[in-house]
């Protein structure tokens, strides 16, 4: 075992393997964080479309689109979406983007679909009296949504959003399919340099666990901050 560790450390430190790991770590975090942000924006918009009263035409059309969107992104695996974007959509559009950029967008679009469902549940869990009170003082539906309902919905769904973020972090392990280097690519590089995969993969697992634990703690802290208005 100790020779295995020596081999690993040799490549990790002396041959600059740690640089690859850092790059992978950065990519993993960048894809997950930006993906989540895009997802929150898209998810909130879609959730709003879903709860808007439907007696006008525009909301109905938007709702139809939202149903299709959510159906597509929840109905296909992330890898398939990445491949479709990178190898089908981009060539058709004639656009060149890096694997990381594509991953950020696909993760954002994908998590937008999941977050819209979470957010819809969150919005529906807010007392309808809150919307009524906002409308009764003359605020528009959109303004009341933004200032009153969504902040309360977000508070309700914070734990679930934390799970979504953790899921995103873990799922970044598929971005190597479109040529983005993440933690898997980094540790695979170290492993193939030494023909020894045991230590690299254990370290990789530990890094993932540490990230997830840290995020879990962060979410606890945020929840506590949000809980002020319950006192």
């Amino acid at each position: 075992m100790s020779t295995k560790i020596d081999l690993f450390l040799n490549v990790f430190i002396d041959k600059g393997g740690y640089l690859k790991v850092l790059e992978g770590l950065r990519n993993t975090l960048v894809i997950a964080v930006l993906g989540l942000l895009i997802g929150v924006v898209i998810g909130t918009l879609i959730a709003t479309v879903r709860v808007v009263p439907k007696y006008k035409r525009l909301p109905r059309v938007l709702n139809g689109f939202a149903t299709f969107y959510v159906g597509f992104f929840r109905g296909t695996p992330m890898v398939v979406q990445l491949l479709l974007f990178y190898y089908v959509l981009l060539p058709i559009l004639g656009v060149r983007l890096s694997g990381v950029t594509v991953s950020i967008w696909v993760f954002g679009l994908n998590s937008g679909a999941y977050i819209s469902e979470i957010m819809r549940g969150g919005i529906q869990s807010v007392d309808p009296g809150q919307m009524e009170a906002g409308r009764a003082v003359g605020l528009s539906f959109a303004t009341t949504m933004r200032m009153i309902v969504i902040p309360q919905a977000v508070k309700n769904i914070l734990p679930t959003m934390g799970n979504e973020f953790i899921a995103l972090i873990k799922e970044t392990s598929v971005v190597s399919f479109v040529g983005a280097s993440d933690l898997y690519v980094a540790f695979n590089y170290i492993g193939s340099n030494t023909y020894e995969f045991m230590v690299p993969y254990i370290v990789m697992a530990v890094i993932y666990i540490v990230m997830v634990v840290m995020i879990t703690i962060l979410i606890r802290l945020m929840e506590r901050r949000f809980a002020r208005s319950d006192r």
Binding site: G138, L139, M147
Partner: protein
Amino acid sequence: MEELLRVEGLQKSFGKKQVLNGIDLTVYRGDIVCVIGPSGSGKSTFLRCLNCMEDPTGGKIWFDGEDLADMSVDINRHRQNMGMVFQHFNLFNNKTVLENIMLAPVYTRLHPPKGQPKPSRAQVKEEAREEALALLKRIGLEEKADVYPSTLSGGQKQRVAIVRALAMKPKLLLFDEPTSALDPEMVGEVLDLMRDLAKSITMIVVTHEMGFAREVSNRMLFIDEGRILEEGEPEEFFGNPKHPRLKDFLSKVL
């Protein structure tokens, strides 16, 4: 007498169920109209149609020279002039007491109708803050300015909800059973505030508090099955009711 609100043949149905069957009512500035009637008779629906929280399915609601039942009017602007107080208070849970009161005045002043000059943010906030603090002082809750609604008692919540509506300086205030969700010992403080307000603002109050209605209103309405069955000054209305349904109702509640 200046006419504030005129309701003509107001109808409302939910699907096939007709809840309001043609209601006519004119409200003048300074009126205190109290509405009573059995449960399910359409009192809340009537009140909620007035500011289009429910869209009327027939009739007209004249307010500020426009028909609110016409879906093309800017209802948000009219609601700023027609406050509403709910049975369950509905204070904004994510805002402090002071923010609850300031929110709508600040927002609407920062978003004036097109063409009007936009005032400075700091100035609007400062003004709204001072007005809100003055309102809180009026109800003796200045020290609660920075707490969240969940820490207030029911009576305190409802009094804050009332001054939140007042902060918009409305011409008309609508109350839907403002004391029915309160513990009995808190009803008094809310009625006292309303009694005080009645001197300076026009109100329509749906209530089960017969004593309050009799003392404060200048006009009583009895609604049953979506119709106004009797209307009159409180002395006559309570002392000498004409309609058998009202007689029956009063004999049960008094």
